[in-house]
Amino acid sequence: MSTQAMTTAEYVQHHLNHLTLGLKTFSFGSNGFWTMNLDTVLISLFMGLLIVALMRLVAVRATAGVPGKLQNFVEIVIAFVQKSVTDTFHGNSKLIAPLALTIFAWVFMMNVMDLLPIDVLPRTLELVGFEHFKSVPTADPNMAFAMSLSVFGLIIFYNCRMKGWSLVKEICTQPFGIYLLPINVFFRLIEEFVKPLSLALRLFGNMFAGELIFILIALLPWWSQWLPGGVWSIFHILIITLQAFIFMILTIVYLSMAHDSH
C-alpha cells in the first residue's frame, strides 16, 4: 500500500517510472534517448545469467544414463522446445532451437518477476535511496523490442539467404501478380514490419497491463487485496507461461516462413 502522502495518481505514476541512468551525464536521471533503464537491464541480465548458468550446469554434468532431477527438468523443457521447433520448422538450423529455448526460458523468467508482490523490490530499494524501480523487464518495451527486432533481423537474413533472387520475385509478384507490383511491395512491407511490432507489443502489452492491474489492486484497502490479488496472480501464472510460449512459437513460425517460399 502506498504511503499516506501519495495520491492514487502519484502512486501509479511512481510505479511506471524506471530506474534510469543517463548515459551522457552518467548520472541517475533521463538523458532523452541516451538513457538506460537500469532496472530492466539488471533484472533481465540476472534472470538471463540464472537460466544460462543453470542450463550450463546441467549441460556439463549431462549424462546419457539416468538423469538427475535437475537434468530431467531441463530436458523436459528442451524436449518441449525441440518438439515445438520440429513441428513447425522443417529446415536444418543450428540456431533456431537454441534461440527458441533462450526466448522461452528468458521471457518466462522475466515474466515471473510479475508475481513478486508489486512493492517488494521498489520499497526495498527505496530504503537504499533509489527512487524508482520497475521489476518486470518484459513490461519495458525496450526489452520486448530488443528480442522482436532480433527476430526481425533473422527473418530478413534467412529470407535473403534461403531465397536469394527469388525473394525479389516473391516480393514483386505476390500476392497479386507482376501488374500490381507497387501494391505487392507495399503489402509485403506491411506484412514484414507488422511481425516484430506485433511480437513485441503483444508481450509488452500483456505484461504491462498485468502489472498495472497489480498496481491497481495494491491501491485497494489492505484487507480486501488478497482476493483480487490472489485471483489475478493465479490467472497471471497462465499469462506468464502463455506469453513466453507465444513469443517462442511465433519466432519459430516467422523463421520457418522465411525459410520456405510462399
Binding site: V52, A59, T102, N142
Partner: protein
Amino acid sequence: MEINATLFGQLITFWLLVWFTMKYVWPPITKAMNEREKKIAAGLEASERSKRELELAEHKALDIIKEAKQNAVMIVDQAHKRSVQLVDEAKEIAREESKRILEQANEEFAREVSQTKEELRKRLAGLAIAGAEKVIQRNLDANTQATLLSEFAAEL
C-alpha cells in the same frame, strides 16, 4: 512507453544469451538425450534379440534331449543284443568244451579199456598156460606145448 538506449543493451544481452545457449547449452544436453534414446532403443532391441535367442536355445536344447533319448534307447538296445549274443557265444563255447572233454574222456576210457584188455589177455594167457601146464604137465613135451600155446594165444 519510451524507447531508449536500453534497447541496445538488451539486444547485446539477448544475443550473448542466445550465443551461449547455442554453443554451450543446447548441444551437450541434446547429445545426452539422443544418446540415451539410442541406448534405450539398443537395450530394447537387445532384449528382443536375447528373447529370440533364448527361444532358439530352448528349441535346440529340446532337440538335443530328444536325440540323447533316442541314442540312449539305441544304446540299451544294442547292449541287450550284445548281451544275448555274448550269452549265446558262451553257451556255444561251453558246449564245445564239454564235447571235447567228453571225447577226451571217451578216448582215455577206450585206451584204458584196450590196455586193460591187453593186460588181461596177457594175464589170462599166462593163467591159461599156467592152468594148462598144471593139467598136462607131464603129457606134453616142450615142443607141442609151445605150439599149443601159440595156437591158443592166436585164438584168444
